[in-house]
Structure formats: structure tokens, C-alpha cells
Amino acid sequence: MARTASPRGTDSADPAGLGRARAAAISAPALLIIAAFLVFPALWTLYLGTTNYRLTGFAARHPRSVGLQNYTNVIQDPDFHHSLWLTVEYVLFSAVLGQALLGFVIAWMLRDARGWLKRLIEALVLLAWILPSSVVAFLWVAMLDRGSGTLNALLHTPGTAWAIEHPMAVIVVFNIWRGTAFSMLLYSAALTGVPPSQLATARMFGANSWQQLRDVVFPHIRGHILTNLLLISLWTFNDFTPYQITAGGPNGKSEILPVYIYQTALFDGQMGLGAAISLLMLVINLVVALVYLRLLRDRRGGRKLERVAP
């Protein structure tokens, strides 16, 4: 296709005659809101973390700078270590192992399937993902109920209070149930890119399922696996839904970092200390996001992936 005759940089760049001033004016509202409610809060966290801000009392009206004390307090606080460790467990078991593995297994098993069973499984997995968090949280609370929950009736374990006796296991399994859909969709899309001829050749030479996966499938979808792991880790790390099931309890046994920040800053009112922990969370998010961007840039298939995850 021939380009229009007009030289680049004049008419073809600005066909409506918008001009820089008008362009700046119409993009200003969006940029102002982003600056005020996204950029500023992130930077402000730095400052808030160096104050003794509290929600109520004298320090609420007259906060003063405490230097790096909040940060040193946080780093030495055993509660924080405990929470950080729980968060690592939560992300590792529910996202990296749970969602990614189960999502791949579903995509692999249903890759050639047709008919109602495939549609039913996909619909249920997707439904778990799109229902509002308050609804799914209550569905799990009801299912795990000590007195009349479905799980106790099914397993013949009357009186077991799952959310109290095994709070971490509950939120890990819950998050696998909740988020497997994304991995399933991504791996389904990735598997369509594996040439069937290569799989057929491998089978002809007597490769079993595992050998086919290792030698043919994985080399083709390695980039998708990395993308998937980074995204679901980031989302799981920032997930607040476990609060609606266990509220971090009992005794902080499921107090992952988001819940720990909520309890410290908004429930106990120690805003300065909460801001210091938030900063740490923002830095971890930044590192994961930078690794992700780096990966996208390194790979030519980057644009396609954005379409899988609009």
C-alpha cells in the first residue's frame, strides 16, 4: 500500500489539525487524575513512612518525622518476618505451583477435547474467576463451615473448623480455585502454537507423553510460562480476598502482607508504620514488573501476549 502523498510530520501525523495546544488540553484531565491518584500516592509513601502518623490521637494532628525508625522497626519486627514468610508460602503454593500447574494440566488434557465436558469445565473454572470476591469468599465460608458446611458432610469430618485449624491451607486452595482460569486460558492459547507435526513425529519415534511435553511442548511455550508465572505471582501477592475468608486469623496465622498492612495501618491506626511496609510491597511489585517488561521486550511474541491478557 502506498503512503499518502503528504510528507510525514505534517498532515499525515495530525490529520484532524488538532495541534499541540489542543492535544495537551484534551489529554490533561486523564494525566492529572493519574498524577494525583496514582503517581503521587506512590511517592508520598516514601514520606509517610518516615513519620509517626496515626489515625487518631495527638500524632494524628501533629505528626513528626521519625527518620528511618519505622523502617528499622519493621525490619526487626518478628511479626513482619512471619507475615513475609506466609506471603512467600501463599504465592509459591497457590500461584506458582497451584494455579500454573493446574492451569497447564487442564489446558493440556482438554486441548483436543470437544463437546459438553470441555465446555462445562471451562465455564466453571471461568466462573470461579469472574464472580465478585465478596461472593466467592462467602461461598467458601459456607462450604467450610464447622457445623453444617458441605465439606464436612462430604468428608465425614463433622465439627472440623477448617478455616481455624488450617487457615493457610484454606487460603492457598481457595486461591488455586479462584485464579486457575487465567493460566488455563493462557496455556490453551500457547498450546495452539505448538506445531502438531512435531508432536506427531515425536509420537512416531515412540516418545511417551512426558517426553513429548519435555522435548516438543515446553521449548515452544517457555516464554508463555515465564509471563504466566510473573503475572499470577504479582496478582496473588496483591490479593486482598483472603482477608474476607480468614481476616488474617486466627492469631495472625494467615496474615499475609496485604492483610498485615491493613491491620497495622487502618485497624491499629499506625499509619507511618503501615506506610513503611507498603513501600516494601511497592518495591517488590516494581521488581516483578520490571522483570516482566524486560521479558516482553526480549521476545518478539510480546504483542500477541498482551492480547491474551488485555
Binding site: 496514582l38 465478585p132 453444617s148 488485555p310
Partner: protein, 276 residues
């Protein structure tokens, strides 16, 4: 040596056993949502003793249930309107006027919106709303949501405006249309699928979000459905299962319908949005 047909049968049995377990795992929590709203004697386990629609009349009488759905609609609608309007204008300007480093800026903003999640930034967001006297204000909640959704919205819409042939705008200009007439009568109709996508995406995000209204809104009369549902089962006393089950179903239906609409109309799958 094993008989190959025996192996094939065993593999088939294994496959269907696994798929059944999978089906059970994903269906089990949802059975309650499907049965209890119509159960005359709602309990926490899955059972239907006798069919009824009475639970929905309990819902109508509750002072918080229906108003909270209205509040959710206000928050979702307000956010969608601001996000789509401002993002479309910014996307078009960035697509047509050359600003040095515009792609870099856009990528940086996108990166920022996935880093500064509601969870990681709840402390500064609360403090900011407090300083601006936006605690307990719907406008405050809408602005916080809009700030988080705008970068990705601009990014999606810019993809649409970039791919729009420039000849339409050029000919309109030749016939004397002003830039704003061109935007209204040519650009907006042409990027309509993009506008619809961003609207649905913003509505679903806000409709389902729990944390932001939970920390920013104090007055129960202004609670959206997500927060009201949470208070229904956590606040003291025996939870009213008739109310909770009927309300959960009513609150979930719009999300499912929007999802079906988008996947039917545009043939692609969107996910629950940026998880905040």
C-alpha cells in the same frame, strides 16, 4: 508385558477420574449459590427442601441490600464514564500529535498502574482521601478507581486510534470540519468497540472491588454491594442465609451477563481486570 488395549482403557479411566475430580472441585463451592437462594429453609449446606422465591422478598425488605446495588452502580457507572471519556481523549491526542517520548511515558504509566495496586497503596490512598476530605465520598472512590484504570484504558484505546485510517479525518478536514467535530462524528464512532471494551472492563472491576470502598467509605448507607455482602456475614449474630444467598445471586448476575455479552459480541475473553 502389558496389553496395549488394557493400557488404553486404564488411561481413559484415569483421564475421566481426574476430570470428574476437577469438575467437583470447581463446582462444589458454587452449588450453594445455585440452590440456596431458592431454598425455603436456607442452610449452609447444599440442599433443596422446597422451592421458594420468598428469599428474594426478604431481600426487598432489607434496608441496605437494594440501595447497595444502586451504590455499586453509581460507583461503576461514574468510574466507567470518567475512564472512557478521559482515556479516549488522551488516546486520540497521543495517537495524532507527536509528543517527544510519548510511548515511553505511556509504558511507564502502564507499569506504574500494575505496581501501585489498591493493596500496596492503601495507606497513601487513605491518607490522600483524608486530606482532600474525600473520606465517605463517592467522588473520592470514583477518582481513586479512575486513576488506577486510566493508564491501561489509554493503552487499549490508543491501539484502536493508531489503527484508524487517517484519510477519513483528512477528508472531513478538507470539507471544513473542526477538530472537535471530527472527534465526535468520525473518531468516536470508529473506535466504538474499544470504548465498549473499556467500559465493560471498568464496570466489572469496580462492581467487584471490595478493598477501596471498604477503606474509604464509612457511612453504611453509601456501602456498595461488595462491602454490604461482607458485613452481612461478618457482623455479629446469626447470619441471615435467606438474605445472603438471594443477594449474592442478584449481585453476581450482572458480572456474568457482561462477560457473556463481551465474549459473544467480540469473541475474545477478558479477565477480571487488573486485580487490585
Amino acid at each position: 508385558m502389558k496389553d496395549p488395549t488394557v493400557r488404553a482403557v486404564l488411561a481413559k479411566i484415569g483421564r475421566y477420574t481426574f476430570l470428574s475430580v476437577l469438575l467437583g472441585f470447581f463446582a462444589l463451592p458454587m452449588l450453594w449459590l445455585a440452590s440456596t437462594p431458592f431454598n425455603a429453609h436456607p442452610t449452609l449446606d447444599v440442599s433443596i427442601s422446597s422451592f421458594t422465591l420468598h428469599n428474594f422478598s426478604v431481600l426487598l425488605k432489607d434496608p441496605y441490600a437494594l440501595p447497595s446495588l444502586w451504590n455499586s452502580l453509581l460507583l461503576a457507572g461514574g468510574t466507567a464514564l470518567l475512564t472512557v471519556g478521559f482515556a479516549a481523549a488522551a488516546a486520540y491526542a497521543l495517537s495524532r500529535v507527536r509528543i517527544p517520548g510519548r510511548n515511553g511515558i505511556l509504558y511507564a504509566l502502564l507499569l506504574l498502574s500494575s505496581i501501585v495496586t489498591g493493596t500496596a497503596a492503601m495507606v497513601p490512598l487513605f491518607e490522600l482521601a483524608f486530606k482532600l476530605h474525600l473520606i465517605d465520598s463517592r467522588v473520592g472512590v470514583i477518582l481513586v478507581f479512575t486513576g488506577g484504570l486510566l493508564p491501561a484504558a489509554i493503552f487499549i484505546l490508543k491501539d484502536f486510534t493508531d489503527n484508524m485510517p487517517r484519510s477519513y479525518e483528512e477528508s472531513a478536514r478538507v470539507f471544513g470540519a473542526s477538530p472537535f467535530q471530527i472527534m465526535r462524528h468520525i473518531v468516536l464512532p470508529m473506535i466504538r468497540p474499544g470504548l465498549a471494551t473499556v467500559t465493560v472492563w471498568a464496570v466489572v472491576n469496580v462492581w467487584s472491588n471490595f478493598l477501596i470502598p471498604y477503606i474509604l467509605i464509612r457511612n453504611p448507607d453509601k456501602y456498595p454491594a461488595s462491602v454490604v455482602l461482607y458485613t452481612f456475614y461478618t457482623e455479629g449474630g446469626q447470619p441471615d442465609l435467606a438474605l445472603i444467598s438471594a443477594f449474592s445471586l442478584l449481585y453476581s448476575i450482572p458480572v456474568v451477563l457482561l462477560y457473556l455479552f463481551v465474549s459473544h459480541r467480540y469473541g475474545f475473553r477478558f479477565h477480571g481486570g487488573i486485580k487490585r
